[in-house]
């Protein structure tokens, strides 16, 4: 029994030559994917002297943690936006998961009278939308989403794609008999959902939560649109985006303003500082990533297999 099986396995894999080729191609591409991040980490630990002399390099002349010292001294603006990023991510994720689960559960229930209607209501927005400007005008003037936390959370609270993912999780993991049994036992709809169904779809909820958390953590577009005056609410991503422009402004103007300003600009480790901030944004993702990767893969696969 053992021998023919082994034989088959041998027939069913590529030879050593092809394997080596695959490893080379995949290894190179995989490396390309993380090298920019490694490069930014290196830059953030590079001394300003080295940057001034040979620019950004994988092998700097000298190392320094000066940039991180400055990051910590940036004080309020930085910690505030770091806090905002966490706040927006936590509140946004909790609310959007709740809304998503509540919306997709009735769509899974075949006996829900208005199932088709609400299914279409969500799906239609995937193929047609009013566009950026009308959405912006409605959110800003009608709903008052401007210069506040709500503006950075509300427009992202619902995603038709996530509804499809969640509905598919219900369909594949919750047997319909479970609900019938629960109804016969006299449990109300909410009790059935919370006590009977939710424990079964925990992996689905984890997936949705991660997709949402990622979307909120990486969000900068809403800040660009809706935050014009109140910089106390901006998340880290947008701070980083603004910093790029301000630093450019400083660099461009230093030449015109004469030696003093140029000197001041040069003393600021603006180059490595920005890269240190990038590291600050990516580190939470990079740390959590290996653990949540499989949930995200599950969610994305489910979502794209049946849209």
């Amino acid at each position: 029994m053992n021998k023919p099986q082994r034989n088959q396995v041998a027939l069913n894999t590529f030879g050593p030559g092809a394997q080596a080729l695959f490893h080379t191609v995949l290894g190179l591409f995989a490396l390309m994917c993380i090298v920019p991040f490694l490069f930014v980490i290196i830059i953030s630990f590079t001394s300003e002297d080295s940057i001034r002399q040979i620019g950004y390099s994988f092998m700097p002349l000298s190392w320094s943690t000066q940039a991180y010292g400055y990051v910590f001294r940036l004080g309020d603006a930085l910690w505030r936006s770091y806090f905002n990023s966490f706040l927006i991510t936590v509140i946004g994720t909790v609310l959007s998961v709740a809304i998503c689960v509540l919306y997709s559960y009735p769509l899974y229930r075949k006996d829900f009278k208005y199932r088709g209607f609400f299914n279409f209501m969500s799906f239609f927005t995937m193929i047609f939308g009013g566009g950026l400007v009308p959405t912006f005008v409605v959110c800003k003037t009608l709903l008052g989403l401007s210069d506040n936390y709500a503006a950075l959370i509300v427009p992202l609270l619902f995603s038709p794609f996530n509804v499809i993912v969640m509905r598919t999780f219900f369909q594949t993991t919750v047997p319909r008999e479970l609900i019938e049994a629960s109804t016969i036992d006299g449990a109300g709809e909410y009790r059935t959902l919370l006590q009977i169904v939710l424990p079964v779809v925990k992996p689905g909820i984890a997936t949705i939560a991660l997709l949402n958390a990622l979307a909120f953590w990486n969000e900068w577009f809403l800040s660009l649109l809706y935050i014009t005056k109140n910089m106390d609410v901006i998340p880290l991503q947008y701070l980083l985006m603004r910093m790029q422009r301000n630093a450019d402004f400083l660099a461009k103007n230093s030449a015109m303003l004469g030696a003093d300003a140029a000197q001041a600009a040069r003393n600021l480790p603006s180059q490595s500082l920005k890269m240190a901030l990038v590291v600050f944004i990516v580190v939470p993702i990079a740390c959590a990533y290996p653990f949540f990767q499989r949930y995200v893969v599950a969610g994305l696969t489910v979502g794209s297999v049946k849209g």
Binding site: T13, Q19, L26, G129, G130, E189, E219, K274, M275, Q293
Partner: protein
């Protein structure tokens, strides 16, 4: 025959309705109300007294198709060309690369290595374009970026990347592939893992080499996935990735001939001129054409392979 009292109102439907309510309200306010708002595209939208949404919408003057006049400008041709060309080329490139890499990963004997490659390749998908723009900056920054620095050390004139259009089609392409190929190949890999292994055994028994198995078993096996991802991307061919085109080239004016796409045009028009009517017009055109695209591609797919179509 079983008679089901379908139209009878019941408490069950009521409770289920309360569940969909938060999502439905969100959809009405943030998705459907703006669809009414597309009339802005046909109006000279100005703040009225009192400055409320409905008042502005109703009292602003109708201007017919005046807001669509931008269509005649040469910049429009450029941005539409850019959007379609970049998206078209990238759809093909991502498809070929992602399928190739996924097949390779699935055939690796060393499962640990395969897992490691997948983890590394998937990583860029989790980063924002703001972060990615800094990655690009690390290489191209005019004062200390790696490439200009190397040019300087070799005694060459450093390239002003954010001022010269030459390299941007390539830079944008690399950025896009960097972010999206890993993601797609993970999806294809999941589809490959789902293929019935007895098919490979049967093929092997019939004397098919491994290459033939890939061609006749693996590729047909992931065809539905390929078709679905293709429909989704062809349907979105008029929607450019705003983050990529706005952040990576730092929204630099001199680069517009090769970096301006419909999405950045809509935003820049609004941001620079506050001409809401014109941006709305551009956005409306984009939505309508995009919608038609999805319906057509889906129709074509349904003709060829009804199982794979989206709706």
């Amino acid at each position: 025959m079983k008679v089901r009292p379908m139209h009878r109102w019941s408490w069950k439907d009521f409770w289920l309705l309360t569940m969909v309510l938060p999502g439905a309200i969100w959809l009405l306010l943030i998705r459907y109300l703006p669809m009414l708002g597309v009339v802005i595209a046909f109006k000279d939208y100005k703040a009225q007294k009192p400055n409320t949404f409905w008042n502005n919408l109703i009292k602003s003057k109708w201007v017919g198709f005046k807001n669509f006049a931008f269509l005649k400008s040469p910049a429009t041709v450029t941005m539409i060309r850019n959007t379609l060309l970049y998206n078209g080329v990238w759809i093909v490139l991502v498809l070929i690369l992602a399928v190739t890499l996924a097949v390779m990963m699935s055939e690796l004997k060393n499962r640990f290595a395969a897992k490691a490659y997948q983890t590394m390749m998937f990583f860029p998908y989790f980063l924002s374009w703001v972060v990615a723009s800094y990655f690009v900056l690390a290489f191209l920054d005019p004062t200390s970026g790696m490439i200009p620095s190397i040019q300087k050390s070799l005694g060459l004139k450093p390239t002003q990347f954010y001022m010269t259009t030459t390299w941007w089609p390539l830079i944008l392409t690399i950025s896009n592939l960097w972010k999206n190929v890993g993601y797609s190949s993970v999806l294809y890999l999941a589809a490959i893992t789902g293929i019935d292994t007895t098919l490979y055994e049967a093929a092997a028994v019939d004397g098919a080499t491994k290459w033939q198995q890939v061609w006749h078993v693996t590729l047909p096996g992931i065809r539905p996935m390929i078709v679905i991802l293709l429909i989704m991307s062809v349907g979105k061919i008029f929607n450019a990735d705003f983050g990529l085109f706005y952040n990576v080239p730092q929204n630099s004016g001199p680069l517009y001939p090769v970096t301006q796409v419909i999405d950045t045009y809509v935003y820049n028009t609004y941001a620079n001129t506050h001409n809401l009517g014109m941006s709305a017009a551009a956005g409306l055109l984009q939505s309508v054409v995009g919608c038609i695209c999805i319906v057509i591609t889906n129709g074509v797919v349904r003709k060829i392979d009804a199982e794979s179509s989206l709706f």
